[in-house]
Amino acid sequence: MTSTHGPIITILLVFLILTGCDQHKATTKDPSPKTETVTSIAETESEPAYGDMIIRGTIGDASVLLPVLANDASSFDITGLIFNGLVKYDKDIQLVGDLAEKWEIADDKLTIRFFLRKDVKWQDGQPFTTKDVEYTYKTYVNPKTPTAYATDFLKVKEFRVLDPYTFEVTYTEPYAPALTSWGQGMLPSHLLEGTEITESPLKRAPVGTGPYRFREWKTQEKIVVDSNHDYFEGRPYINRVLTRVIPDPATMFLELKAGRLDQMGLSPLQYTRQTNTKWFNENFRKYKYLAFGYTYLGYNLLDWKFKDKKVRQALTTAIDRDGIVKGVLLGLGEVAYTPYKPDTYWYNPNVKKWPYDPEKAKQMLAEAGWTDTDGDGILDKDGKPFKFTIITNQGNQLRERAATIIQRDLRRVGIRVKIRPIEWAAFLKNFIDRRNFEACLLGWGIGIDPSQIDIWNSKKTGERELNFITYVNPEVDTLLDQGAATYDREKRKEYYDRFQEIIAEDQPYTFLFVSYSLPIISARFHGIKPAPLGIGYNFDRWYVPKHLQKYHIAP
């Protein structure tokens, strides 16, 4: 399951200026290693207690609270509290059972048999069984369901219910990302069966199996969920989670300062400059960990200027990526070299890095035929000057700033760059879909599963497909196919290591950076244990010691 930076943002794109799009990940299946608690105050161990409420800020309202229909981060943030999948990732990014007790993969790697937990109840008291799984599966593959997540399920050849707590799925070919796909939220068949899912009242008042049950949703204002006392992993400590919609990041920070918010995502500037006061240190804890996503400069490989990989290597060499991390992220991020997250199992650290060296870049460009023959300060080849435009989506300040630094760096080697931010819908339709661009500055989410076929496979270059830079490399195609068909982790990693070497050599993108997620959380919350997956994985175990409880919420 991968997610992207781009589409997740959609509607509220414009307001995504500071808080970024990682907020939802604090509570769903997500983040990551290299997590560290920044505030030095050690968390004194105290007795976990039930009670209190956490108030979280989000810039965008949820749109729909059924996981099958949701597309945006804000919706997933809430559905992650209410629904469970069959499997989930634990804090060390290992796949473990959630609603499934265990599973068995047949020797031919085509069939998976799932055994469900027998003690799970829907929040309205009905038992959770294979009937619900079957309904969920059928809903995803139903052509009438407007869902974004059908792809993995459509690879299932046969779905067989064996008994109320056991079922089998068979695939046409071995498909390693299959297991992860069963982490999608399971839907209650007894409430949905026979109804039109797009018109179901559950869209706005869901019933799930998760640690929290839905209480109230005031559009564009707040969503409230209360703890589920019958949760199969035990009652969560925090009685209530209130998510407030505050579209403007400046306003959100003021609310935090006024003590009316317990959790929000900080911008690098807020993190470094604004939250170091005594008051903040006493009342809040800050965390930082690498986000599951990277930002890149992609070259349209159909454009004659970028066809030669020597030129792309030179461009990467000419861009001061450490300077971007320092200037744009204020050091709160790392330079990216491959499309994988630097602190994960799949990352290959031994690839060509093309360190910043403007002189060498000039030399490489000269070797590729780009020299300043007419003395106007701009490189040229065949009488044409080296000028191009970087497009990016409007309203993302971090990307705009990164583009501005790139503009300066490339000017130093004799390349003129124009920057053009474009409104999201127009950006997709007029530029990306039509391949009508020279270079684009964008970001991808990094999935926990390493399969990246959709982005790099040469068959995925059609309109509306993700390989919009038209990267074609037969060896990469083969490696990605082999990777997806291999269940053995070590064997699989070999394919992806080689894939990363090739990508680093070809430089179809200049990989720019992976930024840190920077959540800040009120210090009265205890039990937060940063792990490779981030901090949200054990949200139901967070608690406020009795004497620190602030809000009195009837259980």
């Binding site: 300062k257 200037g327 501005t404």
Partner: protein, 277 residues
């Protein structure tokens, strides 16, 4: 007549303040390259958000660029947005308003119906509609603001023409067989200039404000080009870390809008015989 007008205008202190502000702005915009202490796009990641000091009188922004230099260069951007936008809206407004008011009848009805329709749309929707057709750029922002704000001028010009066309000097011209165009542009329009001038002056002020609102939504002049609107928006997000980042662009907008409004009001008071005692 003009000497008389200027003499009376000069007596209006507020209008004079406005005039001075406008003059200074023109000067700054014209000589931006000489006045700005640094190039507006000089990045320095070692000097991010430095407080105002001797080196940087208005501090630096999140990329270490000099705020003063950017405001000076932004004055040209913001002012040309105002002028071009108003030029366009006045042009459309005068043509349609004149046609409507002078000819009356069917032309008047169609044009007025069209104005009614346009007024039913929120300005923001119209602006977005135009952005949809044009690639976003500084020039297009100007065009957008211009072609979405002509309705008021049209109504104004129409009203002037309606009353002027019945006046003796117009009737005389008609009886002498002057062509319609000649009458409209040589006889009627000059007499309708006063309210148009006032509307245009006030229009510049509101165009500067519209640009800042568009920037708030991320639809205004796009970075890295500096406009006061996008600088203010960037400053807003960091208002508590770096007060200088929003204060100075905010003041620049404030002073400019104030200047144009006072000047426009002054001209109105001076020109409008009905408002004179």
């Amino acid at each position: 007549m003009y000497a008389d007008f200027l003499r009376r205008l000069a007596r209006d202190k507020l209008a004079m303040v406005g005039l001075c502000v406008v003059a200074v702005l023109f000067f700054v915009a014209m000589f931006a390259d000489f006045l700005a202490p640094y190039p507006p796009d000089r990045i320095d990641v070692e000097k991010i958000l430095v407080e105002p000091s001797r080196d940087h009188l208005m501090g630096t922004d999140p990329l270490g660029r000099d705020v003063l230099s950017r405001i000076i260069h932004g004055s040209g951007v913001s002012l040309s947005v105002g002028f071009v936008a108003v030029g366009i809206s006045t042009f459309i407004g005068v043509i349609l308003g004149a046609a409507s008011g002078y000819y009356g009848g069917l032309a008047d009805r169609i044009i007025m119906r069209f104005v009614d329709i346009m007024l039913c749309f929120p300005t923001f929707f119209l602006i977005l509609a135009v952005i949809a057709f044009l690639q976003p750029s500084i020039w297009n922002i100007m065009i957008v603001i211009g072609i979405t704000s002509w309705m008021g001028v049209t109504r104004l010009v129409r009203a002037e023409f309606l009353s002027l066309r019945e006046r003796d000097f117009v009737r005389a011209a008609v009886s002498q067989g002057a062509s319609d165009l000649r009458i409209i542009f040589l006889h009627v329009l000059p007499n309708a200039m006063a309210p148009i001038l006032v509307a245009a002056t006030l229009g510049v002020a509101s165009a500067v404000l519209v640009e800042s609102s568009l920037s708030f939504l991320g639809l205004g002049v796009q970075p890295p080009d500096p406009s006061w609107g996008n600088m203010l928006t960037e400053g807003k997000d960091n208002i508590e870390i770096a007060w200088w980042l929003s204060l100075f662009p905010g003041l620049a907008i404030f002073i400019t809008v104030m200047g144009y409004n006072l000047l426009g009001e002054g001209i109105r008071d001076t020109l409008d015989p009905r408002l004179r005692r």
